[in-house]
Protein backbone atom coordinates (compact mmCIF):
# COMPACT_ATOMS: atom_id res chain seq x y z
CA UNK A 1 0.00 0.00 0.00
CA UNK A 2 1.31 3.43 -0.98
CA UNK A 3 1.10 6.74 0.84
CA UNK A 4 -1.71 8.74 -0.78
CA UNK A 5 0.46 11.88 -0.65
CA UNK A 6 3.98 10.85 -1.74
CA UNK A 7 3.54 7.23 -2.97
CA UNK A 8 6.17 6.03 -0.51
CA UNK A 9 5.43 2.85 1.45
CA UNK A 10 2.47 3.35 3.79
CA UNK A 11 2.66 2.42 7.48
CA UNK A 12 -1.02 2.90 8.28
CA UNK A 13 -4.34 2.73 6.51
CA UNK A 14 -6.80 5.15 8.08
CA UNK A 15 -9.92 3.40 6.84
CA UNK A 16 -12.29 5.93 8.41
CA UNK A 17 -10.61 8.67 6.33
CA UNK A 18 -9.96 6.49 3.21
CA UNK A 19 -6.33 7.48 3.60
CA UNK A 20 -3.02 5.59 3.66
CA UNK A 21 0.08 7.43 4.91
CA UNK A 22 3.83 6.85 5.08
CA UNK A 23 5.75 7.44 8.33
CA UNK A 24 6.55 11.09 7.54
CA UNK A 25 3.07 12.09 6.43
CA UNK A 26 1.40 10.19 9.28
CA UNK A 27 3.61 12.08 11.73
CA UNK A 28 2.55 15.42 10.21
CA UNK A 29 -1.08 14.28 10.17
CA UNK A 30 -1.01 13.43 13.91
CA UNK A 31 0.37 16.85 14.81
CA UNK A 32 -2.35 18.51 12.73
CA UNK A 33 -5.10 16.36 14.31
CA UNK A 34 -4.08 17.32 17.85
CA UNK A 35 -3.67 20.99 16.94
CA UNK A 36 -7.13 20.91 15.31
CA UNK A 37 -8.65 19.45 18.50
CA UNK A 38 -6.97 22.15 20.61
CA UNK A 39 -8.02 24.95 18.25
CA UNK A 40 -11.60 23.79 17.57
CA UNK A 41 -12.37 23.67 21.31
CA UNK A 42 -10.10 26.59 22.29
CA UNK A 43 -8.58 24.23 24.87
CA UNK A 44 -5.48 26.29 25.70
CA UNK A 45 -2.83 28.60 24.30
CA UNK A 46 0.98 28.57 24.42
CA UNK A 47 0.82 30.96 27.40
CA UNK A 48 -1.04 28.45 29.57
CA UNK A 49 0.61 26.20 32.15
CA UNK A 50 -0.46 22.67 31.27
CA UNK A 51 -0.21 19.59 33.44
CA UNK A 52 -0.62 16.27 31.65
CA UNK A 53 -1.61 13.14 33.56
CA UNK A 54 0.83 10.49 32.36
CA UNK A 55 0.54 6.76 32.90
CA UNK A 56 3.54 5.46 30.97
CA UNK A 57 1.07 4.23 28.35
CA UNK A 58 0.99 5.03 24.64
CA UNK A 59 -1.69 7.71 24.75
CA UNK A 60 -0.32 10.01 27.44
CA UNK A 61 3.28 9.72 26.21
CA UNK A 62 2.24 10.31 22.58
CA UNK A 63 0.29 13.37 23.69
CA UNK A 64 3.19 14.68 25.78
CA UNK A 65 5.51 14.33 22.79
CA UNK A 66 3.04 16.01 20.42
CA UNK A 67 2.27 18.92 22.79
CA UNK A 68 5.99 19.51 23.29
CA UNK A 69 6.62 19.47 19.53
CA UNK A 70 3.72 21.87 18.96
CA UNK A 71 5.33 24.30 21.42
CA UNK A 72 3.04 23.85 24.44
CA UNK A 73 5.08 23.70 27.63
CA UNK A 74 3.66 20.75 29.50
CA UNK A 75 4.59 19.19 32.83
CA UNK A 76 3.77 15.54 33.46
CA UNK A 77 2.07 14.14 36.54
CA UNK A 78 2.57 10.47 37.33
CA UNK A 79 0.55 8.98 40.18
CA UNK A 80 2.20 5.80 41.43
CA UNK A 81 -0.70 3.74 42.79
CA UNK A 82 1.53 0.93 44.06
CA UNK A 83 0.30 -1.80 41.69
CA UNK A 84 2.94 -4.45 42.27
CA UNK A 85 1.56 -7.13 39.92
CA UNK A 86 4.42 -7.73 37.42
CA UNK A 87 5.96 -4.47 38.67
CA UNK A 88 3.24 -2.55 36.81
CA UNK A 89 3.37 0.82 38.61
CA UNK A 90 7.16 0.96 38.92
CA UNK A 91 7.67 0.02 35.26
CA UNK A 92 5.12 2.64 34.20
CA UNK A 93 6.86 5.31 36.29
CA UNK A 94 10.26 4.32 34.91
CA UNK A 95 8.98 4.74 31.34
CA UNK A 96 7.83 8.27 32.22
CA UNK A 97 11.34 9.05 33.49
CA UNK A 98 12.85 7.55 30.32
CA UNK A 99 10.61 9.88 28.29
CA UNK A 100 11.65 12.95 30.29
CA UNK A 101 15.37 12.16 30.15
CA UNK A 102 15.95 13.54 26.64
CA UNK A 103 13.37 16.29 26.67
CA UNK A 104 12.98 19.70 28.28
CA UNK A 105 9.97 18.92 30.46
CA UNK A 106 9.22 18.26 34.13
CA UNK A 107 7.74 15.20 35.74
CA UNK A 108 5.90 15.44 39.06
CA UNK A 109 5.40 12.11 40.86
CA UNK A 110 2.87 11.40 43.60
CA UNK A 111 3.63 8.13 45.38
CA UNK A 112 0.44 6.88 47.02
CA UNK A 113 2.17 4.33 49.25
CA UNK A 114 4.53 6.98 50.60
CA UNK A 115 1.75 9.53 51.03
CA UNK A 116 -0.80 7.22 52.70
CA UNK A 117 1.13 4.24 54.03
CA UNK A 118 -0.67 1.75 51.80
CA UNK A 119 -1.49 1.10 48.16
CA UNK A 120 -4.79 1.95 46.50
CA UNK A 121 -5.60 -1.78 46.31
CA UNK A 122 -5.03 -2.28 50.05
CA UNK A 123 -7.15 0.75 50.87
CA UNK A 124 -9.92 -0.27 48.47
CA UNK A 125 -10.14 -3.69 50.09
CA UNK A 126 -10.12 -2.21 53.58
CA UNK A 127 -12.96 0.11 52.57
CA UNK A 128 -14.86 -2.57 50.59
CA UNK A 129 -14.73 -0.44 47.47
CA UNK A 130 -13.89 -1.55 43.93
CA UNK A 131 -10.25 -1.01 42.96
CA UNK A 132 -11.11 0.80 39.70
CA UNK A 133 -13.40 3.21 41.57
CA UNK A 134 -10.75 3.89 44.26
CA UNK A 135 -8.08 4.35 41.59
CA UNK A 136 -10.26 6.82 39.64
CA UNK A 137 -11.12 8.80 42.76
CA UNK A 138 -7.46 9.00 43.79
CA UNK A 139 -6.19 10.00 40.35
CA UNK A 140 -8.88 12.68 39.86
CA UNK A 141 -8.13 14.14 43.29
CA UNK A 142 -4.38 14.41 42.77
CA UNK A 143 -4.79 15.83 39.26
CA UNK A 144 -6.92 18.62 40.74
CA UNK A 145 -4.84 19.02 43.88
CA UNK A 146 -1.53 19.34 42.02
CA UNK A 147 -3.05 21.64 39.37
CA UNK A 148 -4.64 23.96 41.94
CA UNK A 149 -1.75 24.09 44.42
CA UNK A 150 0.93 24.52 41.75
CA UNK A 151 -1.01 27.05 39.66
CA UNK A 152 -1.60 25.09 36.46
CA UNK A 153 -4.22 26.55 34.12
CA UNK A 154 -5.09 23.34 32.34
CA UNK A 155 -5.22 19.61 33.03
CA UNK A 156 -4.74 17.46 29.93
CA UNK A 157 -5.34 13.72 29.76
CA UNK A 158 -4.58 11.16 27.06
CA UNK A 159 -8.17 10.06 26.44
CA UNK A 160 -8.54 9.18 22.76
CA UNK A 161 -11.48 8.69 20.41
CA UNK A 162 -11.88 5.04 21.45
CA UNK A 163 -12.06 6.09 25.12
CA UNK A 164 -14.59 8.83 24.43
CA UNK A 165 -16.80 6.68 22.21
CA UNK A 166 -16.70 3.72 24.64
CA UNK A 167 -17.54 5.96 27.61
CA UNK A 168 -20.39 7.46 25.61
CA UNK A 169 -21.74 4.01 24.72
CA UNK A 170 -21.59 2.90 28.37
CA UNK A 171 -23.27 6.07 29.57
CA UNK A 172 -26.07 5.74 27.02
CA UNK A 173 -26.63 2.07 27.82
CA UNK A 174 -27.07 3.03 31.48
CA UNK A 175 -28.59 6.47 30.82
CA UNK A 176 -26.09 8.21 33.06
CA UNK A 177 -27.46 11.64 32.23
CA UNK A 178 -24.98 13.46 34.48
CA UNK A 179 -22.04 11.96 32.61
CA UNK A 180 -23.75 12.57 29.26
CA UNK A 181 -23.88 16.26 30.16
CA UNK A 182 -20.14 16.34 30.80
CA UNK A 183 -18.63 14.24 28.00
CA UNK A 184 -17.04 17.09 26.09
CA UNK A 185 -13.27 16.95 25.40
CA UNK A 186 -13.11 20.43 26.93
CA UNK A 187 -14.48 21.43 30.34
CA UNK A 188 -13.91 25.08 31.24
CA UNK A 189 -12.72 26.05 34.74
CA UNK A 190 -15.63 25.72 37.18
CA UNK A 191 -14.43 28.66 39.27
CA UNK A 192 -11.56 30.97 40.20
CA UNK A 193 -8.27 29.05 40.53
CA UNK A 194 -9.69 25.89 38.96
CA UNK A 195 -8.01 24.33 35.94
CA UNK A 196 -9.76 23.65 32.63
CA UNK A 197 -9.90 19.95 31.74
CA UNK A 198 -8.98 18.87 28.24
CA UNK A 199 -8.64 15.75 26.09
CA UNK A 200 -6.58 16.85 23.07
CA UNK A 201 -6.37 13.30 21.63
CA UNK A 202 -10.10 12.93 21.13
CA UNK A 203 -9.76 12.97 17.33
CA UNK A 204 -7.15 10.17 17.35
CA UNK A 205 -7.71 6.43 17.73
CA UNK A 206 -5.70 4.03 19.88
CA UNK A 207 -4.23 2.46 16.77
CA UNK A 208 -2.97 5.88 15.72
CA UNK A 209 -1.37 6.73 19.08
CA UNK A 210 0.30 3.30 19.19
CA UNK A 211 1.66 3.75 15.66
CA UNK A 212 2.86 7.25 16.55
CA UNK A 213 4.81 5.97 19.59
CA UNK A 214 6.41 3.16 17.60
CA UNK A 215 7.50 5.53 14.84
CA UNK A 216 8.88 8.06 17.36
CA UNK A 217 10.68 5.33 19.35
CA UNK A 218 8.75 6.21 22.48
CA UNK A 219 8.88 3.30 24.93
CA UNK A 220 5.51 2.73 26.56
CA UNK A 221 4.05 0.15 28.90
CA UNK A 222 2.32 -2.48 26.76
CA UNK A 223 0.94 -4.46 29.66
CA UNK A 224 -2.66 -3.66 30.52
CA UNK A 225 -3.44 -2.67 34.11
CA UNK A 226 -3.98 -6.06 35.80
CA UNK A 227 -7.19 -4.78 37.37
CA UNK A 228 -8.66 -3.48 34.10
CA UNK A 229 -8.43 -6.69 32.08
CA UNK A 230 -12.05 -7.65 32.67
CA UNK A 231 -13.41 -4.13 32.74
CA UNK A 232 -16.77 -3.60 31.09
CA UNK A 233 -15.22 -0.56 29.44
CA UNK A 234 -13.05 -2.86 27.31
CA UNK A 235 -16.17 -4.67 26.15
CA UNK A 236 -17.69 -1.40 24.90
CA UNK A 237 -14.48 -0.78 22.97
CA UNK A 238 -14.63 -4.23 21.39
CA UNK A 239 -18.26 -3.73 20.40
CA UNK A 240 -17.41 -0.42 18.72
CA UNK A 241 -14.37 -1.91 16.99
CA UNK A 242 -16.51 -4.69 15.55
CA UNK A 243 -18.87 -2.05 14.18
CA UNK A 244 -15.88 -0.06 12.91
CA UNK A 245 -14.52 -3.11 11.08
CA UNK A 246 -17.77 -3.48 9.13
CA UNK A 247 -18.37 0.21 8.71
CA UNK A 248 -15.26 2.42 9.00
CA UNK A 249 -15.98 5.78 10.59
CA UNK A 250 -18.65 4.47 12.97
CA UNK A 251 -16.78 5.51 16.15
CA UNK A 252 -16.20 9.06 14.99
CA UNK A 253 -19.75 9.41 13.65
CA UNK A 254 -21.07 8.22 17.03
CA UNK A 255 -18.96 10.65 19.06
CA UNK A 256 -19.35 13.53 16.61
CA UNK A 257 -23.13 13.11 16.78
CA UNK A 258 -22.90 13.34 20.55
CA UNK A 259 -20.81 16.54 20.37
CA UNK A 260 -23.48 18.10 18.15
CA UNK A 261 -26.27 17.07 20.51
CA UNK A 262 -24.71 17.19 23.98
CA UNK A 263 -26.52 20.45 24.73
CA UNK A 264 -29.64 18.29 25.08
CA UNK A 265 -28.18 16.91 28.32
CA UNK A 266 -27.01 20.24 29.76
CA UNK A 267 -29.01 22.44 32.12
CA UNK A 268 -29.16 21.16 35.68
CA UNK A 269 -26.52 18.54 34.95
CA UNK A 270 -23.81 20.98 33.90
CA UNK A 271 -20.62 21.00 35.98
CA UNK A 272 -20.68 23.66 38.71
CA UNK A 273 -18.30 24.88 41.36
CA UNK A 274 -18.68 22.81 44.55
CA UNK A 275 -20.15 24.94 47.38
CA UNK A 276 -17.81 23.87 50.23
CA UNK A 277 -14.13 23.64 51.10
CA UNK A 278 -13.17 20.23 52.49
CA UNK A 279 -12.53 20.59 56.23
CA UNK A 280 -9.54 18.21 55.98
CA UNK A 281 -7.70 19.14 52.77
CA UNK A 282 -9.24 22.54 51.99
CA UNK A 283 -10.02 21.74 48.34
CA UNK A 284 -13.46 22.46 46.82
CA UNK A 285 -15.99 19.83 47.85
CA UNK A 286 -19.68 18.90 47.56
CA UNK A 287 -19.76 18.03 51.28
CA UNK A 288 -17.95 19.31 54.36
CA UNK A 289 -15.43 16.49 53.84
CA UNK A 290 -14.52 15.63 50.24
CA UNK A 291 -14.95 12.10 48.90
CA UNK A 292 -11.17 11.63 48.67
CA UNK A 293 -10.60 12.51 52.34
CA UNK A 294 -13.59 10.38 53.38
CA UNK A 295 -11.97 7.48 51.55
CA UNK A 296 -8.32 7.99 52.53
CA UNK A 297 -8.34 9.89 55.84
CA UNK A 298 -11.53 9.02 57.71
CA UNK A 299 -11.40 5.68 59.58
CA UNK A 300 -8.01 4.98 58.03
CA UNK A 301 -7.38 1.78 59.94
CA UNK A 302 -6.94 -1.73 58.63
CA UNK A 303 -4.22 -2.70 56.18
CA UNK A 304 -4.61 -5.74 53.99
CA UNK A 305 -2.11 -7.43 51.80
CA UNK A 306 -2.47 -6.98 48.05
Amino acid sequence: MKCHICKDKAVIKLRQHSLALCARHFDEWMLRRVQKAISDFKMFSKKDKIILAVSGGKDSLALWDILTRLGYYTSGLYINLGITHDGYSDESEELCWVFVRNRKCDLIVVDITQAHGMTVMQKARAKHRSICSACGLTKRYYMNQVAITKGFDVIATGHNLDDQAAALLGNILHWNVLYLANGSPYSPPIGEGHPAKTKPLFLCTEKETTTYCLLRNISFVEQECPYAEDATFLEWKRLLNRAEERSPGTKWAFYRGYLKNMHLFAGECAEKEPPYKCKICGLPSWHDTCSFCRFWKVDNTSKQNQ
Binding site: T205, E222, A228
Partner: protein, 62 residues
Protein backbone atom coordinates in the same frame (compact mmCIF):
# COMPACT_ATOMS: atom_id res chain seq x y z
CA UNK B 1 6.92 -17.43 10.40
CA UNK B 2 7.16 -16.58 14.08
CA UNK B 3 4.39 -14.42 15.43
CA UNK B 4 4.43 -12.84 18.88
CA UNK B 5 1.27 -11.52 20.50
CA UNK B 6 0.77 -10.68 24.18
CA UNK B 7 3.74 -12.78 25.28
CA UNK B 8 2.70 -15.87 23.28
CA UNK B 9 4.60 -17.24 20.26
CA UNK B 10 2.70 -18.67 17.29
CA UNK B 11 4.21 -20.41 14.25
CA UNK B 12 2.79 -20.53 10.74
CA UNK B 13 4.33 -22.36 7.79
CA UNK B 14 2.51 -20.68 4.93
CA UNK B 15 2.76 -17.15 3.50
CA UNK B 16 -0.27 -14.94 3.96
CA UNK B 17 -1.30 -11.33 4.21
CA UNK B 18 -1.22 -9.61 7.57
CA UNK B 19 -5.01 -9.32 7.36
CA UNK B 20 -5.31 -13.09 6.92
CA UNK B 21 -3.02 -13.63 9.89
CA UNK B 22 -5.18 -11.35 12.05
CA UNK B 23 -8.23 -13.28 10.92
CA UNK B 24 -6.59 -16.60 11.87
CA UNK B 25 -5.87 -15.20 15.33
CA UNK B 26 -9.39 -13.70 15.60
CA UNK B 27 -7.97 -10.19 15.95
CA UNK B 28 -9.63 -6.98 14.85
CA UNK B 29 -7.54 -4.81 12.53
CA UNK B 30 -8.59 -1.72 14.52
CA UNK B 31 -7.16 -3.14 17.75
CA UNK B 32 -3.60 -4.00 16.73
CA UNK B 33 -0.50 -2.72 14.96
CA UNK B 34 1.51 -5.27 12.97
CA UNK B 35 5.30 -5.04 12.94
CA UNK B 36 7.23 -7.20 10.45
CA UNK B 37 10.96 -7.60 11.05
CA UNK B 38 10.96 -4.38 13.06
CA UNK B 39 8.96 -2.28 10.58
CA UNK B 40 5.31 -1.24 10.89
CA UNK B 41 3.24 -2.56 7.99
CA UNK B 42 -0.25 -2.15 6.60
CA UNK B 43 -2.62 -5.10 6.65
CA UNK B 44 -2.38 -5.86 2.92
CA UNK B 45 1.33 -6.71 3.17
CA UNK B 46 2.31 -10.32 2.59
CA UNK B 47 4.15 -12.16 5.35
CA UNK B 48 6.51 -14.95 4.32
CA UNK B 49 7.74 -18.01 6.17
CA UNK B 50 10.98 -16.41 7.36
CA UNK B 51 9.42 -13.27 8.76
CA UNK B 52 9.31 -12.39 12.42
CA UNK B 53 6.07 -10.65 13.25
CA UNK B 54 5.02 -8.82 16.37
CA UNK B 55 1.40 -7.91 16.88
CA UNK B 56 0.92 -5.06 19.33
CA UNK B 57 -2.38 -4.68 21.12
CA UNK B 58 -3.67 -1.11 21.11
CA UNK B 59 -6.73 -1.45 23.36
CA UNK B 60 -6.31 -0.09 26.85
CA UNK B 61 -8.61 0.09 29.82
CA UNK B 62 -8.81 3.88 30.07
Amino acid sequence: MKVYYKGTEFRFDESMSALKLLSKLSLNVNEVVVVKNGTIITEDEVLSRDDEVKIINTVSGG
